[in-house]
């Protein structure tokens, strides 16, 4: 019998090396010691240097309760603290372009806006100083809790080479269709930056009658983020955000993707049935327009994107094909790995699942991202 010892660093099919893979959700985790030196505000640096730390975590459930042995979920694959760590990790999964975010998803949970703004400024300058010069693309963090300051931060660093989009967080505390966010959107459009919204640790259901009884990881990560992803997308569409900013593109990260068919047909059905309240949507009222410019589903196809991790396709190929078609995947899906978290999604499905033909795989793995980010 023929025997062979195999020792390859590549963890997905070898043909993945032949296709450009752009990964929209790659988390880097610089240490607090790395970041603190970049905080410019003296008072903020003094307070962030205390034993309390930069990003104290509110008590929350963790995947550890759902995994025998209490394995942590956030760092199942490790921690990338430096650009070379990112490259090493990406190579295992044939990821050519990891679009790095500095991974401070706990930032929206922090209380003090001065401190939060300082953390964002430090993270962006860290990226400019230590990540982008190593030929990695990054998303700038955007301090969305203060839309005027967010606009200032976008204008401060948004034109820097290497920053290809802005990174914020969707959740239940605010809806991005609110007009108070318009200064931020104006700055994004001005700098041709798509807005990438990731689920935030802040929006795990806590301190609500329903949320406090959501005790399984399956409910919390499986459902909670997608619910608020849909609510935010619908709000952006129905408030006329994309009528005011037609070139704005929004990417929902880790909020699920198979809900697109539901939203696509349901919003069109309800809007076409009763559209007469559009004139009193604050933004549409200000614009003096009685209707949306297009059907809700058309904004969904043209202005909204979703990342795919975890792809979680149905077992049967024909079912998967139907869902991909109904989800307008060729226009809306962007590959994401979520390295190094517990829901890591190497792109194996693109090379082993017959539901993904070459054209669709290319669109998801790189073409949509190339068009969107100009890379």
């Amino acid at each position: 019998m023929a025997t062979e010892q195999v020792d390859t660093d590549l963890e997905i099919p070898a043909e993945a090396r032949d296709v450009r893979i752009i990964d929209l959700d790659f988390h880097m985790n610089p240490t607090e010691d790395q970041l603190i030196g970049y905080v410019e505000d003296d008072a903020a640096r003094e307070k962030l240097s205390t034993e309390f730390g930069m990003l104290p975590r509110k008590a929350k459930s963790d995947a550890a309760y759902a995994i025998p042995g209490g394995n942590e979920g956030l760092f199942t694959q490790g921690k990338a603290e430096a650009a070379e760590d990112v490259k090493l990790a990406a190579d295992k999964f044939a990821i050519d372009e990891p679009i790095v975010n500095v991974g401070l998803n706990n930032t929206p949970t922090q209380h003090n806006p001065v401190l939060k703004n300082a953390i964002v400024q430090a993270a962006n300058d860290f990226a400019l100083d230590q990540v982008i010069p190593e030929d990695l693309y990054c998303l700038m963090m955007v301090p969305q809790w203060d839309p005027e300051h967010a606009a200032e931060e976008i204008r401060r660093v948004g034109d820097e080479d290497g920053f290809i989009g802005a990174y914020g967080w969707f959740g239940p505390f605010a809806l991005f269709g609110e007009t108070r966010f318009d200064p931020m959107f104006e700055a994004l459009v001005e700098h041709d930056l798509p807005l990438v919204l990731h689920g935030s640790l802040s929006m795990w259901p806590q301190n609500t009658p329903v949320g406090d009884n959501m005790l399984s990881w399956t409910e919390m990560l499986g459902l909670d983020w997608p619910v608020f992803a849909q609510v935010n997308v619908a709000n952006m569409i129905m408030s006329g955000l994309f009528d005011k900013f037609p070139s704005l593109n929004v990417i929902i990260e880790e909020g699920g993707h198979w809900w697109i068919p539901f939203l696509r047909y349901r919003l069109d059905e309800f809007y076409e049935m009763h559209p007469d309240d559009i004139i009193i949507q604050p933004r549409k009222h200000e614009m003096g327009e009685r209707r949306l410019g297009r059907k809700p589903s058309e904004y969904l196809r043209d202005n909204v994107y979703v990342t795919t991790q975890p792809m979680a396709p149905p077992e049967r190929t024909r079912d998967t094909k139907q869902m991909l078609e109904q989800s307008m995947a060729e226009d809306t899906f962007l590959y994401s790995s979520d390295w190094p978290h517990q829901t890591l999604d190497p792109a194996t499905w693109a090379f082993r699942n017959p539901a993904f033909d070459d054209d669709l795989s290319k669109a998801i793995l790189h073409e949509n991202a190339e068009d969107l980010f100009g890379i």
């Binding site: 019998m1 025997t3 195999v6 963890e11 025998p68 490790g78 921690k79 090493l88 190094p340 194996t348």
Partner: protein, 119 residues
């Protein structure tokens, strides 16, 4: 070198305890483990998403700063825990209990310094 239907895949000195090792026999990719002194061989692909199980026990990037320094692991069942999503695959059954999905389990024996697998 083969003995009956067994095929030599490596030597005992080359098998690192609590780590995965991948070998192929006639094109079949097998993960070999030595756990608590016992050798185990199963299909080298997790039934969930085809993760290579031989990566179990590999040190994570900056693993010394994580709760668990290494990827995946082993349980007393005995089971191997997948390096990607921590699915537990029984080393004697090949089964992932929650999903009911299975991979193949292969007999392993040691003759002298040789480790042999029956495919």
């Amino acid at each position: 070198m083969s003995s009956n239907e067994y095929t030599k895949v490596t030597t005992v000195d080359d098998v690192e305890p609590e780590r995965g090792m991948s070998v192929t026999v006639d094109g079949i990719e097998i993960a070999l483990f030595k756990v608590d002194g016992e050798y185990h061989a199963i299909t080298n692909r997790c039934p969930h998403q085809n993760a290579p199980l031989d990566k179990v026990g590999e040190k994570k990037i900056n693993g010394e700063k994580c709760w668990n320094e290494r990827r995946g692991g082993f349980t007393d069942q005995p089971a191997v825990t997948c390096p990607w999503h921590l699915w537990e695959i029984g080393l004697e059954t090949g089964e992932h209990e929650t999903s009911g999905k299975r991979v193949s389990v292969f007999d392993v024996k040691v003759e002298g310094d040789d480790v042999l697998v029956k495919v």
